[in-house]
Amino acid sequence: MGLGKSPNPILFPMGYQLDPSIVIKHLPLFLKGVFLTVEISFFAIVIGLSIGILAAVARTSKFKILNLISAVYVEVFRNTPLLIQIFIIFFGLPGIGIKLSPYISGLTALVLYVGAYNTEVIRSGLEAVPRGQMEAAKSLGLTGVQAFLYIILPQTVRISLPALGNNWVSLVKNSSLVSVIGMVELTWVALDLNALTFRSFELFGAATIFYLILIFILINIQNFVERRFAYKT
């Protein structure tokens, strides 16, 4: 599948022959990559949200030690490049006897990364719920845990949703970095086919379109959830 052999090459005056059929030919591999990108993004979003809620609660708790652990976690993972985190988990940890598979390494890095960003978003969401709400809930006879789960948390999630959505969009884009440890996701597929067929424009162009579509879908899901959570007026 190279120059001159494609059934209907598009000719350009400057001498570059575009050959979109390369993408069609390798569509199954591309779809496999899209599927893995969706899969790891989904797990990272779900697990990362749980981590974000737990770490944000720790961050705002009265216990100094929990507060400190959460603060260190957030600062370390927000202030270092994700690529370095992936390399440390995959290539660095075996040095101290911890050997994780590429899948687990990549997912762990993404979860910890998005979790740190979620923590900050949810923390500000928690702080945005008026203090009086907790007091009011307690005066109605709810325990502290009940008040948090039924009164504070739902409001926090609603307040935090738009910012969480931003984190999720970044996450899907950043998931491309796990290609460096041999995970066969969308970017890896484009890189690998490019290394074999050298049709950079067609292959990276196709990857771009796939990412645009994925993120378009994600944004629409997020808008839908936001509407469902909105105050009914």
């Binding site: 190279g2 120059l3 001159g4 052999k5 598009i10 350009f12 005056p13 400057m14 001498g15 570059y16 575009l18 979109p20 290539f91 075996p94 050997k99 590429p102 290609s179 460096v180 440890i181 041999g182 890189l191 690998d192 490019n194 290394a195 074999l196 067929t197 050298f198 950079s200 424009f201 162009g205 771009t208 379109i209 645009l212 378009f216 944004i219 629409n220 808008n223």
Partner: protein, 267 residues
């Protein structure tokens, strides 16, 4: 509203995709002479062909050949600037005009010939297998069903895919990562060109090389943009000249002398 915006964006992108932008086919030789400097794409993770020392200086056989070509062009060896390329991106670097020539331990293959032109061969290489000392793997047939590492875009990856299609391949972007995966025992073997593995083995005594003699031998060539005959002829003439006057042999001995007995001969 959002849907409409998205469709417009998608349409704009698709149009860009279709009109594309071709690269000028003006002669590289004139460009290089006008610039006063050769732009050479070399590797940084492939000793003894292309690597960097502690100070970040490019070294290796490919680097020295680039200097020899610069000498032919301008009469001085240092009229060359190096760009770091990998097996996966070197052809894109050339076709998008980022470099004038590829000197990156590149095997001549039919697939690549459709996209670039090759100079006359300048090295002969085959493939070998790097394993741990305690490994029971002796030849490539033993790799069936095993976890192995290869590097994206390398002939080692293509060749082993053809010879042992049921081996479980993990492809990394750099040789250094493939090697690390082997050292961490994530994979049982790393398949690459003989000359690279000889160097890696020397620096990692816990590993050994198996699969002798080197399988699927193929010559290396320098790569230039397709259809640029004037530039190709110039580089071919420069290579022929250093082969005749003995400079080529001196460079070969400098970088490969210690492995003279096991490396294949370029005919």
């Amino acid at each position: 509203m959002r849907t409409k915006k998205f469709l417009v964006l998608l349409a704009v992108f698709s149009i860009l995709f279709l009109i594309s932008f071709g690269q000028g086919m003006a002669g590289t030789l004139q460009d290089v002479k006008a610039r006063g400097k050769l732009l050479a794409g070399v590797k940084t993770d492939f000793p003894p062909f292309g690597f960097v020392d502690e100070k970040g200086v490019n070294l290796g056989f490919d680097v020295d050949v680039a200097k020899a070509i610069a000498k032919e062009l301008f009469g001085k060896e240092d009229a060359v600037e190096f760009a770091a390329v990998t097996s996966g991106n070197r052809i894109a670097f050339l076709t998008t005009n980022k470099i004038d020539i590829i000197l990156a331990s590149m095997t001549i293959t039919e697939e690549r010939k459709k996209v670039i032109d090759y100079t006359i061969p300048y090295f002969m290489s085959g493939h070998l297998i790097l394993v741990h000392k305690d490994s029971k793997i002796e030849k490539y047939q033993d790799l069936a069903g095993k976890k192995i590492a290869t590097t994206q875009g390398s002939t080692g990856d293509i060749v082993i895919g053809e010879l042992v299609p049921n081996a479980e391949r993990t492809k990394f972007q750099h040789n250094s990562e493939s090697l690390q995966a082997l050292k961490d025992r994530r994979v049982e073997a790393f398949i690459q060109d003989d000359v690279l593995l000889l160097d890696l083995q020397k620096r990692n005594p816990e590993l050994k090389i198996v699969g002798w003699p080197p399988f699927r031998p193929a010559p290396y060539g320098l790569g230039v943009r397709k259809g640029d005959k004037e530039w190709l002829d110039f580089v071919d003439a420069a290579l022929t000249k250093i082969k005749k006057n003995g400079d080529y042999q001196k460079l070969w001995d400098k970088w490969f002398g210690e492995n003279k007995k096991v490396l294949l001969e370029l005919k």
